[in-house]
């Protein structure tokens, strides 16, 4: 079995994904210095500060929600789901890039993934954490939300296994578990490095505990590689399954705009699309903040932008298909649904969505744009917003006008809806900055394999 995760065999030319002049030492030093240094750059403090303030906003919003009830949100009788579910799907979607990069790109031997997989995985975990809050707090009685879990209670009542929400529980919790495991396993060799480099005995102790006694022996490496590959194999179907199942929340419903067979692939493409946009949103400022352009090169940006372009086009195809089938179905309700999306009271949201997700990414056909951090960052922000709007269109515009015109009603968010959403951004940012501070954001041991000296010349 080929033990090295990367680099071997003859293959077509691949552009370099590591800056020139990097050696084993420089890689390790530069990456671990972010963690080792006692004083973080000012940007870190600002970023963490913003995140922390917003995290407190989340705590306030959730406390008030628990104290007063779901009524503080803008949800109403036809529109039973709104921001909470939009945010849930949005965050889960973002979470997909991590697994895709770690697992699928690993199996496909895309070595450029090495410099981004660590923080992409971390981002995944944090996004899933943000997402996981919503299904719990959006219930009317969050203190009994655990009833969705299948456990042998004295009342002998099981969850309804026909309900997509129960499938969600399994899908998301599996995804969170495997992602966390994958991330942690990938961290072990680097934790050992940090343990060895730590000057503070407490830090050394903590890193040591989590390094699980890693000594870098060949046997360790052998088992490690096997475990990592196995986990990659386990994660791969999850990339497809999780968002497919999330899409069932809608597709299983009877509501026009929800009840569509295209949803699973369309959601998965959208998730990867959103995920890569978020990876770039984080990578571009980071490489500037810590001057790690040698690790996250223009080539990386280019690759990720290509993935975005591809998945973005798939998503647009989804929009076209929805419209086409509404017309082709000759179904009054479906036709009205599309017409209402495009020209109803939420028309601006729909066209903004098309602008963000469909039009803005057309710039990515140009390599100069793909390699320009500024342009790319702007486009990623468009996509981040666009993907959120897409879920708004699906959730709210479908619900607010369904079958019975008598029950049609508008949905408007309240400050609590917005506060909770912004609060989860705070949670995400806080966790991300803590991660940057305490763990190597780029996989050191994997980066070392990209150093020219590590290249193994194959013998024939």
């Amino acid at each position: 079995m080929d033990s090295a995760p990367v680099q071997s065999r003859q293959r077509p030319y691949k552009p370099p994904v590591l800056g020139r002049g990097q050696t084993f030492d420089t890689v390790t030093d530069q990456i671990s210095s972010v963690v080792d240094r006692t004083q973080q750059p000012r940007a870190w403090w600002i970023g963490f500060g913003i995140g922390f303030v917003l995290l407190n906003l989340l705590l306030v919003c959730v406390s008030c929600l628990f104290a007063w009830g779901t009524g503080i949100w803008g949800v109403n009788n036809p529109v039973g789901w709104a921001f909470a579910i939009i945010n849930f799907v949005w965050w889960i979607g973002i979470g997909h890039a991590g697994t895709l990069i770690s697992a699928i790109l690993l199996l496909l031997r895309q070595d450029w993934r090495t410099s981004i997989n660590r923080f992409a995985e971390a981002m995944t975990l944090f996004a899933v954490a943000c997402a996981g809050i919503f299904p719990i707090i959006h219930t009317g009685r969050p203190w009994v939300a655990y009833w969705l879990l299948p456990y042998p209670g004295t009342m002998m009542v099981w969850p309804n296994f026909r309900s997509p929400l129960v499938w969600d529980v399994f899908a998301v919790s599996t995804y969170a578990t495997v992602s966390a495991l994958f991330w942690f396993v990938g961290l072990i060799p680097d934790l050992a490095t940090l343990r060895d480099r730590a000057e503070n005995p407490i830090a050394a102790r903590i890193y040591g505990t989590f390094a699980l006694g890693w000594r870098g022996s060949v046997r360790h490496w052998h088992r490690y590689e096997t475990a990592y590959l196995l986990l990659a194999g386990l994660s791969t179907p999850l990339v497809i399954s999780v968002h497919s199942i999330v899409s069932f929340d809608f597709a299983v419903g009877v509501i026009p705009g929800w009840h569509a067979t295209i949803f699973p692939p369309y959601f998965v493409a959208g998730a990867i699309y959103a995920g890569f946009a978020m990876v770039l949103t984080i990578a571009i400022p980071l490489r500037r903040m810590y001057d790690i352009k040698d690790y996250i090169t223009g080539q990386h940006l280019d690759y990720m932008a290509r993935v975005m372009l591809a998945t973005g086009l798939m998503v647009c195809y989804g929009y076209l298909t929805e419209a086409f089938f509404a017309l082709y179905s000759a179904n009054l309700f479906e036709q009205y649904m599309i017409q209402n999306r495009m020209f109803g009271p939420y028309t601006s949201i729909y066209w903004l969505l098309i602008l963000c997700n469909g039009i803005s990414i057309q710039a990515l056909w140009f390599e100069r744009v793909r390699r320009s951090p500024v342009f790319l960052f702007i486009i990623c922000m468009f996509v981040n917003v666009g993907m959120w709007l897409e879920r708004f269109v699906i959730v709210v515009t479908s619900l607010h006008r369904d079958f019975m015109p008598s029950s049609w009603f508008m949905y408007y968010p309240t400050i609590w809806d917005i506060g909770t959403f912004v609060g989860t951004l705070g949670l995400f940012i806080t966790l991300l900055f803590l991660f940057i501070r305490f763990l190597p954001m780029i996989s050191m041991f994997e980066m070392r394999t990209l150093v020219p000296a590590a290249e193994v010349k194959e013998e024939h």
Binding site: W68, G69, T70, G71, G74, V75, N76, N77, P78, V79, G80, W81, H138, T139, G140, R141, V144, A145, W147, L148, V157, W158, P159, N160, R162, S163, P164, L165, V166, V169, D249, V252, G253, V254, I255, S329, A330, N331, L332, F333, Y336, L399, R401, D402, F403, M404, P405, S406, S407, W408, F409, M410
Partner: protein, 1018 residues
């Protein structure tokens, strides 16, 4: 904070008043606010000296809060329900008939306006909880109106007046008795000159007799009968035509062609429940050969009756008189026809032709909002058409002593202002709020030295009278009352007065100096002397038990229109008003009536017919006028009549005549209680003695202010969906199965309707399978079902702010769609309860199995299990599920707990709820049938909505029983399921509405409406 230690004694009344003047959420905020007032600090010092000291000296807020917190916590502990420490004993002897858990029903009557509603009241362990109609009584036949349903809530209203007050201070009844004795001593020698009694027109024989005796003793005293929505024009019209005051009573069962001139007979007035039943019975076209009646309505304000019309003509109120004259002329009555009939000539002649073709089977009637002339003309027309004696009979007035114009409120006000009144007793009515504004009743009241007001609430009038006497609720006191046809019900109480309430009978007895004895004795004694029966005890017991005195209805009088009336008519000139100017018409509010229900949350939150507005009245204007004046819903306008002005938000109402603004009375109360104070605007402020119903020459000016109005339905177009299916009788005859031809056939290509494929196997029902049909031909959209459901199922009131946010909780709602011409559309009312789908989309998606299919086919809700994901509501195509976004139920107010149905869970925050076909009633019938070892009989389970429905539109039962009534209605060719193409297989189905238009007018309709748009005149 200038605390003065030598401040006078605390004024609890002021504090109470301050609190009483606040509403809703601010109530709690103001508790803190009053803490800052001198009154509160004084009060505090008396009650909690330590706290007062700390607040006064150190102003240590923290310590103050601590102290207050402790006392409040103690108070809370004390309020917990615990058994007393003393030894208590359980029932040694259970009271006869009282089985804990089983309700008992008592027959009684609800006196409202010109006729009582005969009812049965459900009592749980001594608590009246629910009103039902008395099925034996001809005025009810088991049905009730929405207001009657809601009247039980008034009993438990926490804002009810509880104590007797003199100038705002609490006094015992004995003080009042002494004061009255003093007054009467002075009045006795002068034969009662200066003594006045003001009441509603009374339908209680005992009370009227008592007042009659008082007046006999004191011949100079006078009794004024008045109500704001009085029927003076009805009485005056009868007097004009017959030279005496008689009451017309209609028989809609016999009427084939009906022309209503602003009469909202299906919804308003004492006979509405029976009229709706008789009318609707003639609309149920279970086969194309059924003989349907035909209804023409000419009206200036959208009404429930108007929405059922086969032909509705929207005219300005002042033009209706001209219309009536034109029609009369067409029917051959010699009179001066108004000019300018051009636009509507076709209408008039078609109606006339139709009426003539149905002589003896036609009916022309007018509403109280039309002047006496129109009423008298109707009598003349009915006589000409030989309808009198057939579809209409004339009886003695229902009131014991018919109110006369000389004893109206205007004479009283004039006498008061002139100092001729020394003692005024007001029984029940609220003239300070609702009297015609030019009477200046409030000012006149100050001229009366002794005033006393008996009312259930400390209302606007109570505030300005010397004495306020808390009144008993009708469920608390003995009495009697006549229904619309005169049939008497002995009104028996179900509960001892909750507070220190007194009845009108007690007050009158006090005046007569016969205050010993009880109301029970008084009523009994009256009937003992009034009837001659061999065994009074048997008569009494039977009458009380049955809820009516058999044979006590007013007999039909054999009278004819006086011959010289036609001469009079011929001489009367046709007066054409200036048709160009804007007109205001006043109407009773469709939910809170004249304002008496302003503090009733159920009725406040009931969406009004046509507008679906809740919690507010509005100036209803036509779309054309809105367009012309560039007004949109909620824009506040100033309406000026003469020099009087009010501001009101407008509401665009299709079907409103262009130059007419409709104002609903009853809102803008300043002292109604926490629910009703300050809600809406008072249209009484424009209402004068002369302009009781119509005010012309109105100026309307936009103010630029916007006011949010809470409606439960924002979209009025069916968007081409076949939700409400309707056809005229000709189409029905040609295609009897028209209702079952689905529009969205494409979706189920290859599958007949109801056979959409499903992943899941069909349910099997061994025993009962409950189902419902709703006959849209019969439904009039009166909301009785909605309020009945609210009462039966402990449904919370959410308040205006939550309705604005789309969170009303009604389990059954009335969808209302408009179709056709914007200025005079067809109106479709469709009650929507839960459909109880066989393949319920809600059941599949609930993650915790909180909503399940029962073995009898219901979608049961398990509130305890619900976690509140709202997925079921999202997935419900009919949108019948309701979510408790907040703790909408009032869990704290003690008095409201008494009203709750103990068989229905009081839901908490965060759970979903919906209609369950009154599963508690199904269960109780099932238990009963099992005990008796038999099946549940057809008709044994009656849902609350079905029971209340005046038009008998709802049928419920076991569809497995092929002989059941519901099975028969499901076999009706008009039967169709809502959104059947989704494959939900609803258990609730609808019978399509059949209309019976006049073929001559159908072709003419468009032209007529266009003319109406242009000219706005006859």
């Amino acid at each position: 904070m200038g605390f003065d230690p030598e401040a006078p004694a605390f004024d609890l009344t002021a504090i109470r008043e301050k609190l009483a003047n606040t509403t809703g959420r601010t109530y709690w905020r103001s508790l803190e606010e009053v803490a800052e007032t001198p009154e509160f600090r004084d009060f505090l010092e008396a009650e909690f000296p330590a706290a007062a000291e700390s607040i006064a000296t150190s102003l240590d807020r923290r310590q103050f809060l601590k102290l207050m917190g402790a006392s409040l916590a103690m108070a809370g502990l004390g309020a917990c329900t615990k058994q007393p420490l003393e030894k208590i004993l359980p029932y040694a002897k259970q009271p006869e008939e009282l089985v804990p858990g089983n309700p008992i029903f008592f027959a009684t009557a609800y006196p409202l306006g010109g006729g009582a509603a005969p009812i049965l009241v459900e009592s749980h362990m001594g608590r009246p909880t629910k009103i039902e109609g008395n099925p034996e009584h001809p005025a009810s036949l088991g049905a009730t109106s929405a207001m009657t349903q809601a009247s039980v809530l008034d009993l438990y209203d926490p804002d009810r007046s509880q104590v007797l007050l003199r100038a705002g201070e609490i006094r015992p009844w004995a003080d009042f008795a002494t004061a009255v004795a003093d007054v009467m001593t002075k009045l006795g020698p002068i034969k009662g000159r200066g003594l006045r009694i003001l009441s509603e027109p009374l339908v209680s024989p005992t009370l009227a007799a008592a007042i009659g005796k008082l007046l006999a003793d004191l011949p100079e005293a006078r009794w004024h009968q008045w109500e704001p929505l009085g029927r003076e024009s009805v009485r005056e019209g009868a007097r004009l035509a017959f030279d005496r005051i008689v009451e017309p009573r209609y028989d809609f069962a016999k009427a084939d062609v009906i022309l209503s001139l602003e009469s909202d007979f299906l919804f308003d007035g004492p006979g509405q429940v029976r009229y709706a039943r008789d009318f609707s019975a003639r609309r149920k076209a279970s086969s194309p050969s059924a003989s349907l009646n035909r209804l023409y309505v000419v009206e200036s304000a959208p009404s429930v009756t108007g929405s059922k019309a086969d032909h509705r003509l929207a005219l300005r109120a002042s033009e209706i008189s001209g219309f009536a004259r034109a029609l009369a002329a067409e029917l051959g009555i010699n009179l001066d026809k108004p000019a300018g009939l051009a636009g509507r000539a076709g209408w008039v002649s078609a109606v006339a032709k139709d009426l003539l073709a149905n002589k003896g089977r036609a009916l022309v009637l007018a509403g109280p909002s039309q002047p006496a002339d129109v009423h008298s003309l109707c009598h003349a027309i009915n006589e000409r058409l030989a309808n009198a004696g057939q579809t209409v009979v004339y009886t003695m007035p229902v009131e014991e002593s018919a109110p006369t114009p000389k004893d109206g409120l205007d004479t009283l006000a004039a006498d008061m202002a002139g100092g001729k009144v020394s003692a005024l007793f007001i029984l029940g009515v609220n003239p300070v709020y609702s009297a015609a504004v030019d009477l200046e009743f409030t000012a006149a009241l100050t001229k009366v030295p002794f005033t006393a007001h008996l009312s259930q609430q400390q209302d606007e009038t109570s505030l300005r009278t010397l004495w306020h006497i808390p009144a008993t609720h009708y469920l608390e006191s003995w009495g009697d009352a006549r229904a619309y046809d005169g049939t008497v019900t002995i009104q028996q109480p179900l509960i001892e007065p909750l507070y220190q309430g007194k009845s009108a009978l007690e007050v009158i007895s006090l005046l007569r100096g016969t205050s010993t004895g009880s109301d029970y004795d008084r009523v009994r004694d009256y009937w003992k002397s009034a009837v001659s029966v061999p065994d009074f005890e048997v008569f009494w017991r039977r009458s009380v038990h049955d809820g009516f005195i058999a044979g006590s209805e007013r007999p039909a009088l054999d009278i004819a229109v006086r011959p010289d009336f036609f001469v009079y008519l011929a001489q009367l000139p046709a007066t054409d008003r200036d048709a160009g100017e804007l007109e205001v018409v006043f109407r009773a509010d469709p939910t809170i009536h004249d304002g008496r229900f302003a503090n009733n949350g159920w009725l406040q939150e009931t969406p009004k017919p046509w507008t679906r507005l809740t919690w507010d009245n509005a100036a209803m204007i036509s779309p054309a006028l809105a367009e012309k004046r560039k007004l949109s819903d909620g824009d506040v306008v100033e309406l000026q009549v003469g020099n009087r002005k009010i501001t009101a938000p407008v509401w665009t109402t299709p079907g409103q005549p262009e130059q007419t603004v409709t104002l609903h009375l009853g809102y803008g109360r300043t002292r109604a209680g926490h629910v009703g104070t300050g809600v809406g605007f008072s249209a009484y402020a424009l209402r004068t003695v002369k302009n009781q119903w119509i005010a012309s020459g109105v100026k309307m000016r936009a103010t630029g202010v916007h006011y949010p109005l809470a409606t439960t339905q924002t979209h009025h177009n069916m968007e081409g969906r076949e939700l409400f299916r309707t056809a005229d009788i000709a189409t029905y005859a040609a295609r009897p199965n028209f209702a079952q031809e689905p529009d969205n056939r494409e979706m189920v290509e290859g599958h007949p309707e109801h056979e959409v494929p499903s992943m899941y196997p069909d349910w099997k029902y061994e025993g009962n399978a409950w189902g419902m049909t709703i006959d849209l031909s019969a439904c009039i959209g009166c909301n009785a079902c909605l309020v009945a459901c609210q009462s039966e199922n402990n449904i919370a009131v959410v308040g205006k702010e939550q309705v604005l946010r789309g969170r009303e909780m009604h389990w059954i709602r009335i969808d209302r769609y408009f179709e056709g011409d914007l200025d005079n559309p067809a109106v479709y009312n469709q009650p929507i309860p839960c459909m109880q789908c066989e393949k319920a989309p809600c059941e599949v998606v609930c993650p915790v199995n909180a909503t399940n299919h029962s073995s009898e086919g219901l979608n049961d809700m398990t509130y305890n299990r619900c976690v509140g994901t709202r997925y079921c509501a999202n997935n419900c195509p009919y949108k019948v599920r309701r979510f408790n976004f907040y703790l909408f139920q009032d869990w704290d107010t003690e008095s409201l707990k008494g009203q709750r149905n103990p068989d229905v869970t009081v839901r908490s925050r965060g759970v979903m709820e919906k209609c369950n076909y009154c599963v508690q009633r199904i269960s109780s019938a099932r238990i009963k049938s099992r005990k008796e070892d038999r099946d549940v009989r057809d008709g044994e389970v009656v849902t609350a909505c079905q029971q209340a429905c005046p038009s008998d539109a709802i049928v419920f039962g076991n569809i497995n029983d092929k002989r059941s009534r519901v099975a028969a209605t499901k076999a009706d060719p008009r039967n169709y399921a809502l959104l059947a193409e989704l494959g939900t297989k609803p258990r609730t189905t609808y019978l399509a509405a059949i209309t019976n238009p006049n073929p001559e007018l159908v072709a003419d309709a468009k032209a007529t409406n266009q003319a109406a748009e242009k000219g706005g005149q006859l």
